[in-house]
Structure formats: C-alpha cells, structure tokens
C-alpha cells in the first residue's frame, strides 16, 4: 500500500485549522484548551476578528496599558490572555497564526522562549524575506525597524504555543485606545504607535501569498493535515479546563479607570 509522501518522510503531523473572523476571545479559549488538553500539533489561522478588541498579556494591567476613558465610552472589549507579552488592539485587518507543538516535535528545539522565538523567526523569515527587509527584532517581526507582527508564548511541561498577531492592515484610529507602554523594546526608540508600526499589505502581495507561504514553510517540518472546524465541536466552552484567558468586566475597567484618574492627579 502506498503511503502519503510526508508520512514516508517521518515528519510529525500538524493539524491545520483555518478560520475567518472568529472572535479573538473564542480563538484564545480554543488555543488554551488545545495547548493543555490535546496531544497533537496545531497551526491555527484566523483572518481578522469581528470587533476591535484590546488583548493584554497575562500580567497586563488596564490602568497602565489602556486609555480607559475612550475604551469605556466606546465599549471596546479588553481581554487578558493566557500567554505572556504585551498589549495589542486587533480588528478585522489582523491576521492570526498560532503554532501549538509538542516539545519534541522539532528535533533539537528546547522548549524555552528564546529558542522558540528563534525557530519561528527563521520559519517566517523564509516566507517573508523576498517581500521586505524582514527581521526578528527583540521578539517582534519587523520590516526594517517597523513592526508588523507581535508574538507571545505559553510554555507548559511538554508543549508550547507561539502565537502571532500580524498587522495585515489596521485602523490607525484604534491605536488611540492604547497607552504607550512603559516596557517597550529598545528599537522602538519612543516612537508613537503609527511611527513604529507598518502594514503587511504594503509589502506582501496578498494574504493568500503569506498564508500559503507559511503553510509551505511549516511543511518542511511537519506533515500538514487540514482540519475542519466542525471536527472540533463547540469552539467556546472549555469543559473542565480552568483557563486563564479572561474578558474583563465593565466593573473591572471602571475600577481601573478610577485608579488611573487618581494616579494622574
């Protein structure tokens, strides 16, 4: 019996889940559930999210990171995710790619932040180097010194996730909801959001070009198996899993705003 080519090569399997406009909260619930309860490798791609949403890292404090007055006024959702890293505001111009891997999936790759960042940076570099001066700059993906991709990770005993929000496009007005972070990479050099960021669409011909290039690059390390969303059943709901991802309540945001006002006085 003939075996599929990739299986003959002995590559580990990676399930490829493609989604469009799934709300980021649902995506994060799903990712945390797959990280902690699945034994398989996953690549999750989500084109955009339905509502502009602020997503902080696990230690994020809204009083320090978010302009709470307009956020409360405009009812912008604020999420604290289960992974580390900084704060982003995402919208329907954001492209999400998440990799969930067993620690032994990539030979020789140690499950620590720097090696994972280095490996994924090389993987995306293969995809993007022909479109611009691609760099992994202090954990960001950048063309020259302009960031277009923010990364975050969560590492558990035998698995890890590396997820990226790519700025295919963005609404510059949404950046007004974010404060300038106190903890910023050196290469940012105190630039404003708009001066610091760039749009992938100004460099890469199409989203399809990027996505197909990424899948091809991953295919050098994994046997890619398309996975249907329906096979996962309900996206939301974590069953018995007590996850860390949390949508902040209005009350929590109002309390943070009170704290912010006091701090300003």
């Amino acid at each position: 019996m003939a075996l599929p080519q990739a299986i003959k090569a002995g590559l580990p399997c990676m399930n490829l889940l493609r989604m469009t406009a799934v709300p980021i909260l649902e995506q994060l619930y799903l990712e945390e559930r797959l990280l902690r309860t699945s034994a398989e490798n996953w690549c999750i791609i989500n084109h955009g999210t339905s509502l502009p949403t602020i997503v902080m890292g696990i230690s994020g404090r809204p009083s320090e990171l978010v302009e709470l007055k307009p956020v409360l006024r405009d009812q912008i959702p604020v999420i604290r995710r289960f992974s580390g890293g900084g704060t982003v505001i995402i919208d329907n111009g954001t492209l999400f790619v998440s990799l969930i891997c067993n620690k032994n999936a990539i030979p020789g790759l140690q499950p620590y932040p720097h090696p994972i960042m280095s490996w994924t940076g090389q993987m995306y570099g293969q995809v993007l180097h022909e479109f611009g001066d691609f760099h992994l700059r202090e954990n960001d993906y950048a063309f020259n010194s302009h960031k277009f991709g923010g990364n975050a990770q969560s590492i558990i005993k035998d698995r890890w996730i590396h997820h990226t929000s790519f700025l295919w496009d963005y609404d510059a007005r949404n950046m007004e909801y974010l404060k300038l972070p106190s903890r910023a990479p050196k290469y940012r050099s105190a630039r404003s959001h708009v001066e610091f960021l760039c749009r992938m669409k100004n460099y890469v011909p199409s989203r399809t070009t990027f996505i197909e290039g990424t899948i091809k690059s991953l295919g050098g390390h994994f046997s890619i198996r398309p996975f249907d969303l329906d096979e996962l059943g309900s996206l939301s709901g974590s069953g018995s899993l007590s996850g860390s991802t949390k949508l902040l309540t209005r009350q929590e945001l109002e309390e943070a705003y009170s704290f912010q006002c006091v701090a300003v006085r």
Binding site: G85, P113, H114, M117
Partner: protein, 163 residues
C-alpha cells in the same frame, strides 16, 4: 546545522543570563553555566526542593531562570491550595512567554512568597534563596526520593543542553 543553531541559542541564552547572584551557601556547586545546591532535590521540569522537617520549599532552578530570561511576573497559588507532584501550581512570565511551574511533590501550600509580587526578578537574582515560590507540607515525603540530587540534576541539564 539548523539543529546546532537552535541548541546553541539556548546555550548562549544561558551564558548571557548566568550572573553573580546572592552568595550561595558553602555547599553550592557550579557546573558549566548553571549552579545547583547540594542537599536540594530537583525535578526534570527544573524545580528545586529544600526539605527541612515538615516543610518543603520550592522554586525554579538556575538552569530554568537562565533559559527563561528576566522574570517580570509570577503567578502563585493561595495558601491552603493542594499541589500534586508533576502538576502546575503557578507560572512565571519572562520575555514574551508564560511558563508553567510544576510542583515536584504533593502536599498543601502553607506559605507563598509574597515578595515576588513586587520583585519577580528575585527568581533571577536569588534563585535558591529569596526567589523561593511556595512552601509545602508534603503529603508523601517518599516522593522526594524519586527526585534528582544535585549531581544527577547537573548531568541532566548538561545532556539537555547538548541536544
């Protein structure tokens, strides 16, 4: 070649991250880039245990903190929580990553290191002293025997970094 690059990046992170921390007791041993303490026990997920009487103090090792980088946030359980050998009880955030911390033994948390809330970097600078994370009353002290001693753990780290 690519494999060596990935392994060497971890080794370089370790070299760059090893630092002079608070003075160790005279029984400490330095091997390669990471330090260990004689008399402590170690898990294969890089936590250390100091067992004294009814109390086991737990933290993450110098090897772990060196690979993680600067710790900026620590998530700890509350006192009274039960912990299970091999299962997570908390997390540390460094760089862009959260990393689970697993308990090497089972028992009840009797104290957490509240200093880590305001000074998470103690895990980097005082890994085996002020950087402790939880104190546990062991439910099964025999579990300590299945952990590695300092020599075994040092060898384990060397083998891990060699891959």
């Amino acid at each position: 070649m690519a494999l060596k690059l990935w392994a060497s990046s971890a080794a370089n992170a370790l070299k760059l991250s090893s630092r002079a921390s608070a003075p160790f007791p005279a029984s400490s041993i330095s091997r390669c880039f990471s330090s260990v303490i004689d008399g402590f026990r170690y898990s294969d997920s890089h936590e250390w245990v100091k067992h004294q009487g009814d109390v086991a103090t737990i933290g993450i090792t110098d090897h772990a903190q060196g690979h993680l980088g600067e710790v900026v946030f620590v998530e700890l359980p509350e006192s009274g929580t039960s912990v299970t050998k091999g299962s997570g009880f908390g997390a540390v955030e460094s760089v862009k990553a959260t990393s689970d911390v697993n308990s090497p033994i089972s028992g009840e948390v009797i104290e957490v290191n509240s200093k880590l809330t305001g000074a998470p970097g103690l895990i980097n600078t005082s890994t085996y002293e002020d950087g402790w994370m939880i104190k546990v009353k062991p439910s099964d002290p025999s579990e300590l025997q299945s952990l590695m001693d300092s020599k075994e753990y040092s060898k384990f780290c060397e083998e891990e970094d060699a891959h």
